[in-house]
């Protein structure tokens, strides 16, 4: 690990960082808001949702802050009209892609997609909604997977693989047909690898994974455990 210290500017502010840190990590440490959905502290970053795209001076394209390492003298812009427009567009595409009906969702009021839409001033979706017909898997005795609400952030896949070590979840299909699956696309309740630990449910940013018996707006997620688990394991090695 390179323990060198880098100095860079984010939104005109001088900040210092360890050389192994990403722009997103440094921004969060300094209370600079960069929106994200697939990133979660304690899991490996994948740069999938593209919400954390930032402008870096000298770079010809926008860079995802969650997977871009800091560099000496870097000049990062996290807010601009262009970035706002792209971020709103990404959220609108997510809303139009599946059936996110906030008013009747278990995660209403506790959802990262919903609260980001509010924070980024999204008042309506310009794209026509797709209204796909998607399954709800309630075969597990304790949990429910509602594909209508899934944004394919793959937090469930990563937490199950990297933290629980079960790798029950994965992604099947490509593009618009992609879907998270349990085992070899078997019902969750019939999965032989699932340990029923519930980590996937609690890292899920929306109402896609929830505990059974939760009604509208009742599914608040508890994910404080994750950084501690990661820290303990890193130290144990």
């Amino acid at each position: 690990m390179n323990a060198g210290i880098k100095t860079l500017r984010i939104d005109g502010r001088d900040v210092s960082a360890r050389a192994d840190q990403t722009i997103l990590q440094v921004a969060r440490e300094n209370d600079i808001f960069i929106p994200s959905l697939c990133y979660l502290e304690g899991l490996s970053p994948v740069g999938a949702c593209r919400l954390c795209l930032v402008e870096v001076k000298g770079a010809s394209r926008l860079l995802p802050a969650c997977v871009t390492r800091v560099e000496e003298g870097m000049e990062v812009t996290t807010r601009s009209e262009r970035l706002d427009a792209y971020r709103r567009m990404i959220l609108e595409l997510l809303f139009s892609e599946r059936n996110h009906i906030c008013s009747v969702c278990v995660s209403n009021g506790h959802c990262e997609l919903q609260s980001l839409a509010e924070r980024l001033n999204l008042t309506h979706v310009h794209f026509p909604y797709r209204y796909p017909r998607l399954p709800v898997d309630a075969s597990h005795p304790r949990f429910v997977a509602d594909h209508n609400r899934c944004i394919l952030c793959t937090r469930c896949v990563r937490v199950c693989d990297e933290i629980e070590g079960a790798h029950t979840w994965d992604v099947m299909g490509r593009g618009i047909e992609a879907r998270v699956i349990t085992d070899l696309n078997q019902p969750w309740g019939e999965s032989e690898s699932c340990t029923s630990c519930g980590k996937c449910v609690h890292v899920c940013p929306t109402g896609a994974l929830s505990e059974k018996g939760r009604s509208v707006a009742e599914m608040a997620k508890r994910r404080q455990f994750l950084p501690y688990l990661t820290m303990m394991r890193t130290q144990a090695r």
């Binding site: 809303f95 001033n121 008042t123 309506h124 796909p132």
Partner: protein, 177 residues
């Protein structure tokens, strides 16, 4: 100055947004002095009038009648407000979209009917293939998300419109509310 001519209408929705409108309570008296309610489910007028300044539209477009009404209103309204999630996103009424109207009618009027099965044919408007938010049918000027938007938000919207400003809903209400 003449009072602002306000209309409200309720398409494919549950009336919850109108209940929220009534929840403005004593502020309604304050508003009554500044605006004239020219058409609404809350008043007994049959014809949507000409030259309406502001129309609050609750509900999505689910039937041919909804669409006709909305186009008629649009032509007679200066500022059209999509009030609430059904108007803004199609919300709960759109939950039938993945299945189609025939499957929904069959479930409601055939499979679960204990007597006289069969969907009504002529007495009620036909369901369209898809329920749509207002802005997929006509241009919308102001979007007020929320299920329902709170009375405070509706009051804010009307106050801003009365002051001749376009209300900025950023951070004031959200989908699902």
């Amino acid at each position: 100055m003449s009072r602002m001519r306000l209309a409200t209408i309720w398409l494919d929705g549950c009336s919850g947004c109108h209940m929220s409108f009534l929840d403005m309570d004593e502020r309604l008296i304050e508003l009554a002095g500044q605006l004239e309610l020219v058409y609404s489910p809350l008043v007994d007028l049959k014809e949507f009038p000409e030259q309406v300044d502001v129309t609050l539209v609750e509900g999505a477009v689910g039937t041919s009648e909804d669409e006709e009404k909305l186009r008629h209103i649009r032509a007679r309204t200066r500022i059209l407000v999509a009030l609430g999630d059904c108007a803004v996103t199609a919300n709960v009424p759109a939950m039938r979209n993945p299945f189609g109207p025939q499957a929904c009618l069959a479930r409601a009027y055939q499979e679960n009917a204990t007597r006289n099965p069969g969907a009504p044919q002529d007495e009620v408007p036909r369901l369209q293939t898809r329920v749509r938010p207002l802005h997929e049918v006509v241009p919308v000027d102001v979007f007020v998300p929320g299920c329902p938007p709170s009375a405070d938000v509706i009051f804010y919207v009307l106050q801003e419109l009365l002051a001749g400003r376009v209300p900025d809903l950023a951070g004031r209400s959200r989908f699902g509310a």
